[in-house]
């Protein structure tokens, strides 16, 4: 087992880097982070569209969200795999494909989280802002969203955990993320599948469990002192 780690440890962590593109655990984490950071603005836009008073905006967006959420992520990945090259006119890398699929998929999920967050802000806040003369956009930008996003932080961390797990699906299109690397190692070593896949499982466990504890701690802190969070963060 120790020999396994010594021989393949680095490969597991960073893939073929620097002789090749980044892979392994590093790719998993970076891809997950990038996907979440890009999905959040998309989620906010979709949530605002869902809350809009204009039916022409609300209905199509609601339909898109329902369709994306009813489709397996793997399906979305395949759509991206086959049609991004057609859209962009050039061959699309696996990372880009995976990123696009993850951003779209998580954006649709985050839309619901953001929507709930916005609707959870007391109406008095919006009334006070509008009474001062602050317009719709300004109220949203300076009063509603800052508070909603702060309240949503634990949910966002949990969504990050989900996204990290979702990166493993890149395996199926040959993306060199950590599960794919583990399989490569296994096909070389052949006689220790339990050790190899066990290590893979433990890695994900450590990463995801750790992050979910962070989310839990954040949630408890927010519940205890909701209005003093700015003080804690400043």
């Amino acid at each position: 087992m120790i020999d396994l780690l010594k021989t393949y440890g680095l490969y597991f962590l960073v893939g073929q880097f620097p002789q090749g593109p980044l892979g392994g655990l590093a790719l998993t984490i970076l891809l997950g982070l990038a996907a979440l950071l890009l999905a959040l603005p998309l989620g906010i836009l979709l949530a605002l569209a869902r809350l809009s008073r204009r039916r022409l905006l609300r209905w199509p967006v609601t339909a898109v969200i329902y369709v994306v959420r009813g489709t397996p992520l793997l399906m979305v990945i395949f759509w991206a795999y086959f049609f991004l090259p057609v859209l962009t006119g050039q061959k699309t890398g696996q990372v880009t494909t995976m990123l696009a699929a993850l951003v779209l998929f998580n954006g649709a999920y985050l839309a619901e989280v953001v929507r709930a967050g916005i609707q959870g802000i007391p109406r008095g806040q919006t009334e006070a802002a509008r009474s001062l003369g602050l317009g719709y956009a300004l109220t949203l930008r300076r009063i509603v969203l800052p508070q909603a996003l702060r309240n949503m932080l634990p949910s966002l961390v949990n969504q990050f955990v989900t996204t990290l797990k979702e990166t493993s699906l890149g395996y199926i299109i040959g993306l060199q993320e950590v599960a794919f690397i583990a399989s490569q190692v296994n096909s070389q070593v052949l006689v220790h599948p339990v050790a190899v896949y066990g290590t893979l499982a433990l890695t994900f466990f450590a990463l995801c469990f750790g992050l979910s504890r962070v989310a839990y701690a954040l949630e408890k802190r927010l519940a205890r002192r909701p209005l003093e969070l700015p003080v804690l963060l400043s």
Partner: protein, 246 residues
Amino acid sequence: MIEFHDVNKFYGKYHALVGITETIERGEVVVICGPSGSGKSTLIRTINRLEEIDSGRILVEGRDIHAPEIDLDRFRSGIGFVFQQFNLFPHLTVLDNCTLAPIHLRGLSPAEARERALAVLDRVGVADKASVFPATLSGGQQQRVAIARALVMEPPLMLFDEPTSSLDPEMVGEVLLVIRNLAHQGMTLVCVTHEMGFAREVADRVLFMDRGAILERGSPQEFFDHPQQARTRKFLADIRSPFGRE
């Protein structure tokens, strides 16, 4: 300054405002009182269109506030509104609460806005709390900050929707004092309140509402000492005696 012309509002089948016709002059201090559910909050909220009406007209400084060409945000920035629940922005400091609107709506530089805000916060007596967050303040302090936040925009008209109803009794006085000072400075104020002592001392006119209609109106003396309607008399008697009629 404010004119109501036969204003009606319905919540479904419930007739919340019944044929309201009234004029409030510039510089007047008007107190609106009445039992729960009489429509007094609804009425004051129609003035800055937090509530919409179903029929009738409301004019502020001669202009129909429901005309399509009205810029609603601009209109609202000229009216100060103070809520029963304060509604301060918890993620901003006291100072930022007060400078947000002047910077974005009046084009003031942050420094100018800061100066103006501090002066107003001083007027209401909470200048020393400028850099703290609202959660650390008492109810009375928070409401005074809310008043300052509205005042910084230098509105010609201030509306108060039960400003002291959420406060512990010992803090009511400090807020009423601030409002009284505003009255003495000649501002046009409309105040929904249960504080009868305040009404007596500060109001130019008192409006009594019951079940959506203005039942009685008059100077404080007329209202408190010689109420005309039986309903008004009952209301005054109820609030004077803590146990109601035996």
